[in-house]
Structures are given as structure tokens and as C-alpha cells.
């Protein structure tokens, strides 16, 4: 059943993550985080959760417990790129609300939604330590700060170009 597409085989990649963590279910969190990073749209599909549960000899309900507990993990697909806007104290002082309004207008969606083309989802996050360049957001794992309207539009357009080109 396991077809190998080049050197990309999700099951094999998950297996090597599991191996790295000794098939120890105490390491569910890093296992799930690393697995999620392999999968487009930033989520753990049900089949993947079941597979990991099976391999760890753990009930799927416990895997779901971890997925649903941590906001960095999701059981539902998000946009291809996840924009996480900081709304902690410093960004609040620096008016993250303005950034939010620009993002919502440019993407045509509200916070918590996915854009029609599936490229972006918008969500809030707690402080990730970029207070020196506040207001800031994070797209996937990249941090962008000192955000102005022009800068925001440029960043978004760059992502759009990258994914269409």
C-alpha cells in the first residue's frame, strides 16, 4: 500500500519522527508538531492522528486531547499560510487593531477565517517576543515587525506572487 513518491513518503517521515522520540507517548506534543509541519494547511488530519495513535499504542482520544489542547496544533485545515497577529500588551499599545483592520480588508476575511483562495488564515496569538519591532505578526514561522499599511500589503502580495508563480 505504501507508495514511495521520490523520497517523500508521509508515513515514512512520520515513522522517522516517531523513532526519533522512541515511540514514547510522553513526547506526543513534539511528535505532533513535527508531523503537522510536514502536512500542508497546518493541521493533523484524522487519519494521521489515528496512525500515530496506533504506532504509539495509545487511544486516538488521547492524541486528540493533545491536538485540541494546544493552539499550535489543529485538527482542521487552515490556509496554506497562517498569519498570527500578536495582541499582547506591547502590540496593543502599538495598535495591533490597525494592523488587523488592514489584514481583514486586504484578505476579505475576519479573524479566525480562511481566505477564499485558501492561501491565508488569520488568527491571534500571544506574545512571541518581537516587542522591539511591535506591532508584529508571524506568517508560518517568519516574524514581520514595524508593520505599516504599505509594508503589510507588500508582504501579502509577495506571498501571493510566490504561490502563483
Amino acid at each position: 500500500m505504501e507508495k514511495n513518491i521520490g523520497n517523500k513518503n508521509l508515513i515514512k517521515d512520520i515513522d522517522s519522527i516517531l523513532e526519533k522520540y522512541d515511540f514514547d507517548n510522553h513526547n506526543l506534543l513534539p511528535i505532533l508538531q513535527e508531523t503537522q509541519s510536514l502536512i500542508p494547511n497546518h493541521y493533523i488530519p484524522e487519519e494521521v492522528a489515528k496512525y500515530i495513535a496506533l504506532k504509539l499504542n495509545t487511544p486516538t482520544s488521547k492524541v486528540y486531547d493533545v491536538i485540541s489542547f494546544f493552539s499550535s496544533l489543529s485538527d482542521k485545515p487552515k490556509g496554506l499560510h497562517v498569519i498570527q497577529l500578536c495582541k499582547s500588551a506591547v502590540c496593543r499599545l502599538n495598535k495591533y487593531q490597525t494592523v488587523r483592520d488592514i489584514l481583514e480588508r486586504e484578505l476579505g476575511i475576519k479573524m479566525g477565517e480562511i481566505s477564499d483562495d485558501g492561501l491565508f488564515s488569520l488568527e491571534y496569538t500571544a506574545c512571541f517576543g518581537a516587542c522591539d519591532i511591535s506591532p508584529a505578526f508571524r506568517i508560518d514561522n517568519r516574524v514581520y515587525g514595524n508593520l505599516t499599511e504599505d509594508k503589510i500589503i507588500e508582504i501579502i502580495n509577495n506571498y501571493r506572487r510566490f504561490n502563483h508563480g
Binding site: E47, P59, S68
Partner: protein, 590 residues
């Protein structure tokens, strides 16, 4: 062991080190209120009702805090009472207050606490979650709006039964107890044992109530409504009417069932005897003809659901015999229908079971091999008690009556089906005598009795020693299955009961089935066995007559058609292709 001396509410007491405040307080006759605490479970300390004061402004949970030397505990200071009330009001603000309509009205631990603390209406604004009630299964209903998150159900599901369907999920205000991916029970590997319904302190998870269906049938003049009672019910239903656990109330139940309007009242023990005849001969056949061994019993429907879901490769080990409930149903629509000259379509067969999984079993497609459904409706012990109460029957004072013929003559071997080890003991009594032609000196196989998780015994059958084992509670069953899987199992015959203690500890039994209560019910069961005239299934004259008149011989043609069946895997198959496809997308998009 070291001991600690402390003061609880101005009373000095010395207890061994390690005792919790809760246990110590009981010794000075103070029952600190609890909610998540359960005598058979681990300490959870998550409901915060048992807070007590151990210093100025210092509150600790009595259930989880061990006593210390010189401790001064106050269990009802103003601070304690105000905090306990606060905790209760918070729980209540998030709990639908439709107590009068609730299935647990009068048997709810939260309701009792509110009564104790005189809380009728809190000044907090209600914030009831609008969650859907899961009515997907024929056995168990989940109304998680009422859940107080005590985690008792999770412990039985994960640790005791090892099924692992229920777990917690999400956090903060979204924190809840749910199957993975918020699935409905019917779409999970839930075995419907109902142990969760038995430990739930409130009405958040409970048996599907079929009493209306029964009333309907009883009021229908065209239907001939018959009923069978499982062995475990007769030593437990008394608890609903003030009798001590283990009190034998068989005669009273029969009388009550007649007052309710059942046309005939029969005993599942009759088909338990029949099961022993069929299963015993199946075992002998498997030993003689090289069939799959060890053979494992098939009476417990939760157990069948478990092996179908978790160890489908081992299904060949399961006896092909239907359970006594289903055998009774099958006979009621064939042999009995013929004998009484009633069309099977007009017979409505009800069974009274200690079990929620029996409801699921009765609905199985396999259980209508000759055109009619074996059993039309199943009531748990709790539901029957509900019917008796709603018919205003004075159960405590009703005069005892006897079972009807022809399914009323039974043996002691059948009644012990209700306790763990009972099916094994009953089978050994018959198999030994059939194989060796010798009469057993002692009928009591005490090695297989009692509440130890896995029990073993060895029997000498004409020079061939056979090893047998008994497991109850699915986590114990799993241990035995793992031995079989690894090829390390030298047992010939294994009895497995899904629920701890066997059927007397079933998920449909009266609320409050603690280990202590279960032990008393087991005593009651063996007491009935001891006082029976007939104690071996093959000596039951009604069974002999049944074979003469109808079945021919054990494992015969008719038996195969109506009394035996086969089970199929229902495990979750992983969609590996789907996993593959996900990644192809990833590969092209990079």
C-alpha cells in the same frame, strides 16, 4: 508504620501516616462532601467540593491531602462553607437545571449536595453550553451539557476497560469530555459496557431508556409479551427498593412482572443451561477435532464488541454460541411459538438485563437468522425498577411467585453465570461429567471464584489436564489476548466477562455498584446456587426435553441455525492511501 495525631473539628485522632484528611474525618464520624471522589477510583481532586481549612486562610482538598502530625482541620468554618457553596454555585451555573425531567432525579450526587447546602437558585447567571445530545447508539446516551468534568468516566473507559474512547479535550471554557474528533459513540469503538453510566455522578451519560417501548407492547392486545430475567438482576434490583445488595428477590420480581402485565415470565437461566450444553459440546468438539483453542466464551456482548474492535484477528477463538439472552429469544420465536401455537410475529420478547451492551446485541443483524428478531427489547435493571415504581407496585411487600413453564426450570450452574467465573464453573461441571462419565465429587470450583482480575484452574479430563482461565474487566481480558497473540497461552478454555465482577457489576445495574456492593451480590449468587436442587446444566430435565422434542442434539442442525452465530471485525481500518495522497499535494506545492 508511623502514625499522625491531628485534630479534626475539635476532636483529636491518631491515624497511620498517609491517611487522607477525608478518610481520617470518617473515623470521627464526619463525612466531608465529595463529588469527583469514587471509592473504587484514583483520587482526582478536580471538583474542589471537599475543601477543608488547615490554617488561617488555607484551604486544601480533603480527598488528596494526607494528614500531618499536629494538623488542625476545620471542615465547616465560614471560609470552608462559603467556598464550598461558591464551588457548587459555579458548577450549577453551568448545569441544566431540569432535575425533575432528568433520568438521575433522586439519584444524582450533585442534587444531593445542593440539597445539603440549601442551594435552590444561585445568584450567578446561567451559562449552559448548547451542546448536542448524542443519541446515536441503541445503548448509551451522552448529554454532555450536564457533565461536571469529574473524569470518572474517563478512568473506567481508559484504565479499567482499556477501551479509551472517552478522554478530555480542549481547554479552559471549552474543556470537555469527548471521544476523539468529537465523534458520536456509534462511530467509535465504544463497546457499550455502560461502566461510564454507572460511575457518572450526574445525568451526563446514561442508558437509553426503552420503558416506553415496553409499555406500548404491554398495552397492545394483539401481542403476546413474554419476558426473561438474567441471573444477575435477581440479586441487585432489591437495592432500588431498600433491600441490601445481594438479597435474592427472584420471586418478587416475577410477581412484579406479572402485575406489570407480561403474559409469561421466564428465566434466562434456562438458556444459560442451554448455553452450557452447546458451549460445552463445542469445547469437547474443538479439543477432539483440532479446532481453534483456546476457546473463549461469547456470553458478554461488551466483550464481543471489544474483540471485534480491538483484536479481530482472534475472532476464531470465540465460541459460536449465541448468548443466553439471544438463545432465549431464538427459542421464543421457534420452539415456544410452535408449542403455544402463536405466530412468531405476534410474540414480543423482552429481556431484563444488568447490561447496556445487551441492547446493542439485541439489535445486531446476526441475531435474526430465521426471519424474526430474537429479542425485541432489552431493559436494564434500572429501567425495570423505574417501571415497577411507576406502576405503584409495593415491591418490598409483594408476595413471591414462581416462573412459568417451560423456560422456568433451571439449575445452580445457570445462576452463577451472573458472577465472574460462573460460566467457567458451570461449563466444567458439565464438560467433566460428559467426558469422563464420572460424577464430580465437589461441584465447587472455588479457584475460579472471587474478584481477582485473572484466575486460573486446572482440570483433569480422563488423564488430559486442561488449563482454564477467567478474566473480567476488559483490561484483564486484553492481557489474556496478548498472551494468545504472542503464542504464549497454554489455556484450553477462557471465560471473559466485560465488566469487573461479571454481570453483577454490569453497566445497567442500580447506581452505586462499588466493589463492596459487587462482592455482596456475588455472595448472593453463590448462595442461590448452593440451595438449588439441580446444580448441573446437563441434569436439567426441561433442557433434556427441549433436545428430545426440538433440537435433537447439541451442535445439531437446528442448533446451528438458531443458537449459533459468527462475529465480524469492526476495527478502524487506516486509510493508508489517503495518507499518501495528502503528501502528494504537499510535494507538488513545494
Amino acid at each position: 508504620m508511623k502514625s499522625c495525631t491531628l485534630i479534626i473539628d475539635n476532636k483529636e485522632i491518631t491515624v497511620p501516616e498517609g491517611t487522607t484528611i477525608l478518610e481520617a474525618a470518617k473515623k470521627v464520624s464526619i463525612n466531608i462532601p465529595t463529588l469527583c471522589n469514587h471509592p473504587d477510583q484514583q483520587v482526582k481532586a478536580n471538583c474542589r467540593i471537599c475543601l477543608v481549612q488547615v490554617g488561617p486562610d488555607k484551604l486544601v482538598t480533603a480527598c488528596s491531602t494526607p494528614v500531618k502530625d499536629g494538623m488542625n482541620v476545620i471542615t465547616h468554618s465560614k471560609l470552608v462553607r462559603d467556598t464550598q457553596r461558591g464551588v457548587l454555585e459555579l458548577i450549577l451555573a453551568n448545569h441544566p437545571q431540569d432535575c425533575l425531567k432528568c433520568i438521575r432525579n433522586g439519584k444524582c450526587e450533585l442534587q444531593k449536595l445542593c440539597e445539603m447546602f440549601h442551594i435552590s437558585k444561585s445568584n450567578l447567571e446561567d451559562e449552559i453550553d448548547s451542546l448536542e445530545v448524542d443519541e446515536s447508539s441503541p445503548a448509551i446516551i451522552r448529554d454532555h451539557r450536564k457533565c461536571i468534568k469529574c473524569n470518572r468516566c474517563i478512568e473506567v473507559c481508559q484504565e479499567v476497560q482499556g477501551v479509551g474512547v472517552l478522554s478530555h479535550a480542549h481547554r479552559s471554557v471549552d474543556y470537555c469530555i469527548t471521544p476523539a474528533f468529537e465523534k458520536k459513540l456509534m462511530n467509535t469503538l465504544c463497546v457499550f459496557c455502560g461502566q461510564c453510566t454507572s460511575v457518572c455522578p450526574v445525568g451526563a451519560i446514561y442508558e437509553k431508556d426503552d420503558t416506553e417501548k415496553i409499555w406500548h407492547a404491554l398495552y397492545d392486545e394483539n401481542l403476546h409479551v413474554i419476558v426473561q430475567i438474567a441471573p444477575a438482576v435477581r440479586v441487585s434490583i432489591g437495592e432500588e427498593f431498600g433491600f441490601d445488595p445481594g438479597t435474592k428477590v427472584t420471586g418478587k420480581v416475577i410477581a412484579a412482572l406479572r402485575r406489570l402485565g407480561f403474559d409469561k415470565v421466564f428465566d434466562t437461566n434456562f438458556t444459560a443451561d442451554l448455553t452450557i450444553m452447546e458451549e460445552g459440546h463445542e469445547l469437547i468438539d474443538r479439543i477432539k477435532n483440532g479446532g481453534t483453542l483456546p476457546m473463549i466464551t461469547s456470553c458478554s456482548p461488551g466483550w464481543i464488541n471489544y474483540i471485534e474492535g480491538f483484536y479481530p484477528d482472534l475472532l476464531d477463538h470465540i465460541s459460536t454460541c449465541k448468548s443466553p439472552q439471544q438463545m432465549f429469544g431464538a427459542l421464543s420465536k421457534t420452539y415456544y411459538a410452535e408449542k403455544m401455537n402463536i405466530d412468531p410475529s405476534q410474540i414480543f420478547t423482552v429481556s431484563i438485563m444488568p447490561c447496556t451492551a445487551k441492547k446493542y446485541e439485541a439489535e445486531r443483524k446476526e441475531m435474526s437468522s430465521y426471519g424474526y428478531r430474537d429479542v425485541d427489547a432489552v431493559l436494564t435493571t434500572r429501567e425495570l425498577a423505574r417501571m415497577i415504581k411507576s406502576a405503584s407496585i409495593d415491591f418490598a411487600n409483594i408476595n413471591e411467585e414462581d416462573f412459568d413453564d417451560p423456560f422456568g426450570i433451571t439449575t445452580g450452574a445457570a445462576v452463577i453465570f451472573g458472577a465472574t467465573g460462573g460460566v467457567m464453573e458451570a461449563a466444567l461441571r458439565t464438560v467433566y461429567e460428559v467426558v469422563t462419565d464420572n460424577e464430580l465429587e465437589s461441584l465447587d470450583f472455588t479457584e475460579v471464584r472471587g474478584i481477582e482480575g485473572i484466575k486460573e484452574a486446572e482440570v483433569d479430563l480422563n488423564g488430559t489436564p486442561i488449563k482454564v482461565a477467567v478474566a473480567h474487566g476488559l483490561s484483564n481480558a486484553r492481557k489474556v489476548l496478548e498472551l494468545i497473540k504472542q503464542g504464549k497461552c497454554d489455556y484450553t478454555f477462557i471465560e471473559v466477562m466485560c465488566c469487573p465482577g461479571g454481570c453483577i457489576g454490569g453497566g445497567g445495574q442500580p447506581i452505586g455498584s462499588t466493589t463492596e456492593v459487587k462482592e455482596k451480590r456475588i455472595e448472593g449468587i453463590y448462595d442461590i446456587d448452593k440451595n438449588m436442587k439441580l446444580r448441573k446444566s446437563h441434569e436439567n430435565p426441561a433442557i433434556r426435553k427441549l433436545y428430545e422434542e426440538f433440537l435433537g442434539e447439541p451442535l445439531g442442525k437446528i442448533s446451528h441455525k438458531i443458537l449459533h452465530t459468527h462475529y465480524s471485525p469492526r476495527n478502524e481500518k487506516l486509510d493508508l492511501e489517503y495518507l499518501q495522497k495528502q503528501y502528494e499535494v504537499a510535494a507538488t506545492e513545494e
